[in-house]
Every structure is written in structure tokens, then in C-alpha cells.
């Protein structure tokens, strides 16, 4: 025989379970409606846009083999590496435009990364001989100054589609180097990688195994190197 108080208790618990099930069902329906309405994915803050700054681009011309300094207003990030990538992206976007005087396909996405590292001291010939330490070999014993080495990582598609020729390849390499020197004063050396790996030449001619030095850069007045 079940006591009466147990029957009442069972009834109360059953009623509470039913009420809680109904409440839970309603909460589920509300959450489902909120998800469909996209209320949770709506941005709550406007994205931060880097302020536009003046950047000097050394733009090459195939017609006379010259490089002219052009000043462009660009949104430049504060981080130096991202800043260098943004500047080079704009430079390569100019080359990819239909009316470019130095036509090179690929555009700004051809620069994957720009790494800025402490630059080891090197003479002009030492840098050219490949004696500059690789980024991985920079150890605590390496003699360093306040200057920086920029390692530009290009895409393999950019190198594969670059027009072949001494002049056109040299202009591309030098305009990238001189643009970095003009906008990042601490950068004194530039090296290149393609898809993260060393590569002998850009498209069969211009040497990509050496370090290009700021001391060899041309003045930004359009004169040839």
C-alpha cells in the first residue's frame, strides 16, 4: 500500500517535470529564433582601419630602365613587417595594372610575408658572396647593429609568371629593395625567398641568392643604378 503523502509527492514532481519541460522547450525555440535571425553574429564594434599615411614607392619603367619615386597615400599598419608587406603589395598592384610601364602579373598578393630581423654587419662584397648569416643562423654571438634585414617571401606563382629578362627582373628586384629602404629606414639589407625557400634567380636572370644592400641603392630621383 502506497502512503498518501508519497502519491502527493509523486504528483508534484511529475507536474514540476512537465512545467520544466515546457519551459525548456520554449527556451530552445527562442534560441533557435535568435540563431536564425543572426543576432549573435552581428558585429558589435566597427573594424579598426589603419590611418592613411604617405608611402614612397620606387616604380620601375621598362621604356628607359629607370625608377621614379611616387608618393601614395596608403592605410599602413603599425607593425613594421605588416607595413612593409602593405607597401610592397601596393607596388606590385601598380605593376599588375593594365597600363603599367613595368608589367608584371601577380599583384599585391604575391608578397606572402616580410620578415624583419636584426641585420648582421656585412661589407658589400661579403653580402654579395652569400656570407650574410641566414635568419636561422643568427645566434647570440652574431655582431648586430640597429639596422634590420628584410626577408621578402614571394609566391612561386609570381616568380613563374614574371617576364624573363635581365632588365625586367633587375628592375623588379631593385624597385622592391629601394621601396623598402625608402619606407623603413632601419632596413639596410634585403633578401628574397620564394615559397619560403631560397631560389637562384627570379626568372632565369636576376640573382636572388645574395643580400641587396641599402648602400647600393639609387637616390630616389629617377636615376638608374
Amino acid at each position: 500500500m502506497i502512503p498518501r503523502y508519497q502519491k502527493y509527492l509523486f504528483g508534484i514532481l511529475l507536474a514540476a517535470s512537465l512545467v520544466m519541460s515546457m519551459v525548456l522547450w520554449q527556451l530552445r525555440e527562442r534560441a533557435h529564433l535568435r540563431m536564425i535571425a543572426g543576432q549573435d553574429s552581428a558585429p558589435t564594434h566597427a573594424p579598426e582601419v589603419a590611418p592613411a599615411e604617405q608611402a614612397t614607392l620606387l616604380v620601375a619603367s621598362d621604356s628607359d630602365g629607370s625608377m621614379l619615386a611616387q608618393v601614395h597615400s596608403l592605410p599602413l599598419p603599425a607593425d613594421p613587417g605588416s607595413r612593409a608587406r602593405a607597401v610592397l603589395g601596393k607596388l606590385l598592384d601598380l605593376y599588375a595594372s593594365p597600363d603599367s610601364a613595368h608589367p608584371v602579373p601577380g599583384g599585391g598578393s604575391s608578397v606572402t610575408q616580410v620578415f624583419l630581423l636584426p641585420a648582421p654587419e656585412a661589407s658589400a662584397t661579403g653580402a654579395a658572396s652569400g656570407n650574410v648569416s641566414s635568419p636561422a643562423s643568427l645566434g647570440p654571438g652574431t655582431q648586430q647593429t640597429g639596422s634590420q634585414l628584410a626577408v621578402v617571401n614571394l609566391t612561386g606563382a609570381f616568380a613563374a609568371s614574371h617576364p624573363s629578362g635581365i632588365e625586367t627582373e633587375t628592375l623588379t628586384v631593385l624597385s622592391i629593395c629601394d621601396t623598402l629602404f625608402a619606407n623603413l629606414p632601419r632596413v639596410t639589407q634585403v633578401r628574397f625567398l620564394v615559397d619560403g625557400q631560397p631560389r637562384a634567380t627570379l626568372a632565369g636572370h636576376a640573382d636572388l641568392t645574395r643580400a641587396y644592400l641599402a648602400a647600393e641603392a639609387a637616390p630616389a630621383d629617377g636615376t638608374r643604378r
Partner: protein, 226 residues
């Protein structure tokens, strides 16, 4: 021999050779006839096709044809010519440099072709000039010869301008040139264009090729000018 007797003093006067001042200059035995050697390096070849030119022409084919033509023209003038390749063969850059360096040449010309730009592009090494040393690093051996290479480019420029060619001078970092121990210039041939940017001669134009070859030989005559 009469040609050779005229050549050496003219080169010294033009600032090209400076043979007596250079430690790397090949020793000339007393009484031996002076010789003038030109190295012609037809760029690319074999597996390395180089650039793709107009009308499906390959850079390696163009440079080989130009090298053969120049060899004939220079040989006809009594000049000894050493070539880095005589056929469509793969020759590694270091091997090309070895051939040039062993020739102890007075001029090393690396021949290239491109559809970019116009006229003739003359490039010398972008290495900073350095004093000659007994031992030189392989990749920067040209540093001790840069001054003479610039002089050679100047003489070539003058001769090409004299024949009406458009010439662009520049500096570059080219692995083959940077290791050469001789006055070295990379010669890049591009289509000929008028002042209004209209192409007047393509690279496959036989007449243009002949004019370029003739103009490149004329620098020898230019070197005789006082």
C-alpha cells in the same frame, strides 16, 4: 699579326685592358705575340630555355644564333673567340664562368634576349669595385674587374650609338657575370622601337639580327679611336 700590334696599344689607351696594372692579368711571355681573346657566352641552352620571345622563339635559340654569327664576324677580323656552347646543350653557370676565366680574355660578353624594353641593354656587375687580390671569392670575383667592365660597357655603348642603336646602360647581379675574372658585360637584345614606342623590328627579324651583330663587332673599331 699587324692587327694584334694595333689592338693592344689602342685598348690601353681606351682604358679597357690596363694589363700592366692588374695582378690578375695573364703573364705575357717576352716576345710572344699579343693576342686578343673574346669570350661569347650564349646564355641558357638545353633544359634551360630562357625567356619565351615573340613567334614562339626561345631565348636559348636566339642567343646561340647570335653567338655563332658574332664568332664568325670576330674571327674574320683575326680575333680569337672562345664560346661557352656551340649547340643546344645545358651548360651550368659555373662551367660558363670557368670557360671564361680560363680563356684569360680581354672581353667577355654574355648574350641574352628579352621582349621587355627596347634596343640593346648593356649590364655590368653591381658589385662594388675592389682591389685585386691573390685569392678572390668565387661569387664576387668580378669585383676586381668592375672598373674595366664599366669601361668596356662604355666603349660598347659608344659603338652601338654610332650605328644608330638605342642603348640602355645598367648594373645588375647576374651569377655568371659576378664570378668572371675579365672585363664582362651582359648584352641583352630587345625589340627595336621608335620614339613613338612603335616596334620597328622584332627579335626574329633577320635584318635586325644582322645589324645588332655588326654593331657589336664595331666596338673593336671604336676602341681604336684616340
Amino acid at each position: 699579326m699587324r692587327w694584334n700590334k694595333r689592338v693592344l696599344p689602342a685598348l690601353i689607351a681606351a682604358g679597357l685592358a690596363g694589363l700592366s696594372a692588374a695582378a690578375q692579368a695573364p703573364p705575357a711571355s717576352a716576345g710572344a705575340p699579343a693576342r686578343f681573346v673574346v669570350v661569347l657566352d650564349a646564355a641558357h641552352g638545353g633544359d634551360d630555355a630562357g625567356g619565351h620571345l615573340a613567334n614562339n622563339q626561345l631565348e636559348k635559340t636566339f642567343t646561340l644564333a647570335l653567338s655563332v654569327r658574332l664568332r664568325s664576324l670576330l674571327g674574320a677580323r683575326g680575333i680569337q673567340v672562345v664560346t661557352t656552347r656551340e649547340s643546344d646543350a645545358t651548360v651550368e653557370p659555373n662551367r660558363r664562368t670557368e670557360i671564361a676565366n680560363h680563356a684569360a680574355a680581354q672581353a667577355c660578353l654574355s648574350l641574352h634576349a628579352s621582349e621587355s624594353g627596347f634596343g640593346i641593354h648593356l649590364f655590368t656587375s653591381s658589385l662594388a669595385p675592389a682591389q685585386p687580390a691573390r685569392f678572390a671569392a668565387w661569387k664576387t670575383a668580378q669585383a676586381a674587374w668592375v672598373t674595366r667592365s664599366l669601361a668596356l660597357a662604355g666603349v660598347l655603348n659608344s659603338a652601338l650609338l654610332h650605328t644608330g642603336m638605342n642603348v640602355t646602360l645598367g648594373r645588375t647581379s647576374l651569377p655568371t657575370i659576378d664570378s668572371m675574372t675579365c672585363p664582362a658585360v651582359a648584352v641583352e637584345i630587345a625589340p627595336e622601337r621608335s620614339a613613338s614606342q612603335q616596334t620597328t623590328a622584332w627579335l626574329n627579324d633577320a635584318n635586325y639580327q644582322a645589324r645588332v651583330a655588326a654593331a657589336l663587332v664595331e666596338w673593336r673599331a671604336e676602341a681604336h679611336q684616340p
